[in-house]
């Protein structure tokens, strides 16, 4: 028996828009997964997004929900205020590595530890994208960036920070998983994780966090295909994929 699958544009995707992202960027894939999950859970009208700083600052131009913008690093605090006053809504934050793991380290750790009932999608591409390729807390040892032109030196900048591992030392969070969008089979797994994170929020299980290992072909100075190869070969060994914490 033949199965017919319709591959259509998600309903949560804004009509007739194209993203400003560079060719091959993982933001586009992750936005689409987010939209598909919002569609499948039928939560478009009750979802509130927190738009971050960085390349995804204008994600409200692509994903059709209510939004509030957040200052760099502050999205988890903002989401706390939203969710506490409207616990009947679905609230998500979407932050990059500079935003979440550097300037917003306090906010993410404490929101996770309070068990705030919202969902975080954490895009880790090991670099500051929007500002032009500076070193991030997640930049790998030896990786070149505009503020570590000779490669990240642990003597000067320490070792890259692993957020899933760090947050999973906390008792409170309900769900923490690291995924990647670097290959189709991983994209399917990433969608499952994002969906599960939203489901946990809807079921009131607690705080849910999905780290997405992505890429930045422009600031890495690579072709898109080469960049995703680098994600798999260089990032994944340091940032192992998998479930770090699960409520069940």
């Amino acid at each position: 028996m033949k199965e017919t699958r319709i591959y259509e544009r998600p309903k949560a995707w804004m009509k007739d828009v194209h993203t400003h992202y560079c060719p091959g960027c993982g933001h586009g894939i992750t936005h689409r997964l987010l939209c598909e999950v919002i569609d499948e859970l039928e939560i478009k009208d009750k979802t509130i997004g927190i738009a971050p700083v960085g390349c995804a600052a204008m994600m409200y131009d692509y994903v059709d929900t209510d939004y509030c913008e957040a200052a760099h690093g502050r999205a988890p605090a903002l989401a706390t205020g939203l969710k506490r006053t409207r616990p009947d809504r679905v609230v998500f934050t979407y932050q990059g590595d500079g935003d979440l793991a550097s300037i917003g380290m306090a906010e993410i750790v404490h929101a996770a530890n309070r068990g705030e009932k919202f969902t975080t999608i954490f895009i880790n591409n090991a670099i500051y994208g929007m500002t032009g390729g500076q070193m991030a807390p997640t930049t790998l040892i030896g990786q070149k960036a505009t503020t570590c032109p000779y490669g990240r030196d642990p003597e000067l900048a320490g070792y890259p920070m692993r957020m899933c591992e760090l947050l999973s030392t906390l008792e409170t969070p309900a769900y923490i998983e690291r995924v990647t969008v670097a290959e189709p089979k991983y994209v399917i797994a990433a969608k499952k994780a994002i969906k599960k994170a939203f489901q946990y929020q809807i079921e009131g299980k607690g705080y849910s966090f999905v780290e997405v290992l992505s890429n930045c072909p422009t600031n890495w100075g690579m072709q898109p295909v080469q960049s995703f190869k680098w994600t798999l070969e260089t990032m994944v060994p340091y940032y192992p994929l998998g479930v770090y914490k699960d409520f069940e």
């Binding site: 209510d66 509030c68 903002l78 706390t80 506490r84 006053t85």
Partner: protein, 349 residues
């Protein structure tokens, strides 16, 4: 409710509750800790929430998130904490989100001290955060006024979709006075549904609260729209006059300093000195027009503050060269005494 003897901080907290504030996000700092303590006990009982933030930076962003749903929200802090909140206040103003922030001022700069001061006048009225924005700033002089202004602040915040600051000095927070706190129902406040987040199912279009406009024409328009709102806020100007009918000497003071000046004026009047006072209740908008009028018949204007001269600059701008303007200030946690104000004024005769 009957008049009860209450501490200023607790009176402000209960006034907020009676105005319908069910959510409080805060971080401890002296001298205002009784407010978060009071709220942590009070709010869960009425179906609200108290969240102790990890910092003032987080607290103000929780306030932003709560305000973004059109809910009555408050945070309180003291001077160094307000500095940390200034980033958030700029975003809240830029995104046009209602919020009430209380600053129980202590001495600065930096860590300064924990005793009362009025050194945050510039920070409150001239910015603090980045960009072209304004806070509505209310300065109580008695605890009853602190109660009334706190309740008014929620209405103003929702009406103008703008952060409102109660600028109280440490005396206002720590003293006790008899106050009456009644349930306050907000009337004539515009419906929040068209913009407040979480109501997408009740309106045709989604709502996006943002201050980011990369297109310069759009950002300029946003700034001009905000400016038009600040112009409209000028009608909220409030002030109190004391013995100004025949005043040849005019004192300008706000908050606790105005109470001290009032005693000095009574004594000087007994000596036959025709002295009066204008006390701005709103520091923004500032009663510059009334100060200008009063200065026309004044021989001398004396500004008294618990700082080294901040409101002074606004008074000077209002008076222009119609009368000489002098200043007397104490700071570091020391308030001007009645005697000192009398002596300073006698020097001007």
């Amino acid at each position: 409710m009957a008049r009860v003897l209450m501490k200023g901080t607790e009176a402000i907290a209960e006034a907020a509750v009676q105005a319908g504030c069910k959510y409080f996000f805060g971080y401890p700092i002296t001298p205002q800790n009784e407010i978060p303590e009071y709220m942590s006990a009070r709010l869960p009982a009425i179906g609200g929430a108290y969240v102790q933030a990890e910092s003032e930076v987080a607290a103000i962003n929780m306030v932003m998130g709560g305000g973004a749903t059109g809910t009555k929200i408050m945070t309180t802090s003291s001077s160094p904490g307000i500095s940390l909140m200034s980033e958030g206040l700029s975003y809240i103003a830029g995104c046009e989100i209602p919020a009430v922030v209380v600053n129980v001022m202590r001495g600065g700069p930096g860590l300064g001290g924990i005793l009362p001061a009025q050194g945050d006048y510039f920070q409150a009225t001239k910015g603090g955060g980045n960009g072209d924005y304004r806070l509505l700033v209310l300065a109580p002089s008695t605890l009853q006024e602190a109660v009334d202004l706190t309740q008014l602040a929620f209405d103003l915040a929702l009406t103008y979709r703008n952060p409102v600051m109660i600028l109280a000095d440490g005396f206002m927070g720590q003293m006790m006075e008899a106050v009456e706190i009644s349930e306050h129902k907000s009337e004539g406040i515009p419906d929040v549904t068209p913009w407040a987040l979480g109501n997408k199912d009740k309106r045709e279009k989604r709502s996006v609260l943002r201050s980011l406009y990369l297109d310069p024409e759009k950002l300029e328009k946003h700034n001009m729209d905000l400016k038009a709102k600040y112009d409209a806020m000028q009608k909220e100007v409030r002030f109190e006059e004391y013995c100004t009918e025949d005043a040849e000497y005019l004192i300008a003071a706000f908050g606790t300093t105005a109470r001290i000046a009032r005693s000095a004026i009574a004594n000087l009047r007994d000596e036959g000195v025709k002295v009066g006072m204008i006390r701005p209740v709103t520091l923004y908008p500032f009663p510059k027009e009334r100060i200008r009028q009063l200065s026309e018949k004044a021989r001398h204007v004396l500004v008294v503050e618990m700082n080294t001269g901040q409101m002074l600059e606004d008074v000077q701008a209002a008076v222009c060269d119609r009368a000489p303007v002098s200043f007397y200030g104490r700071c570091g946690g020391i308030s001007p005494s009645v005697k000192e104000i009398e002596e300073k004024l006698r020097e001007l005769l």
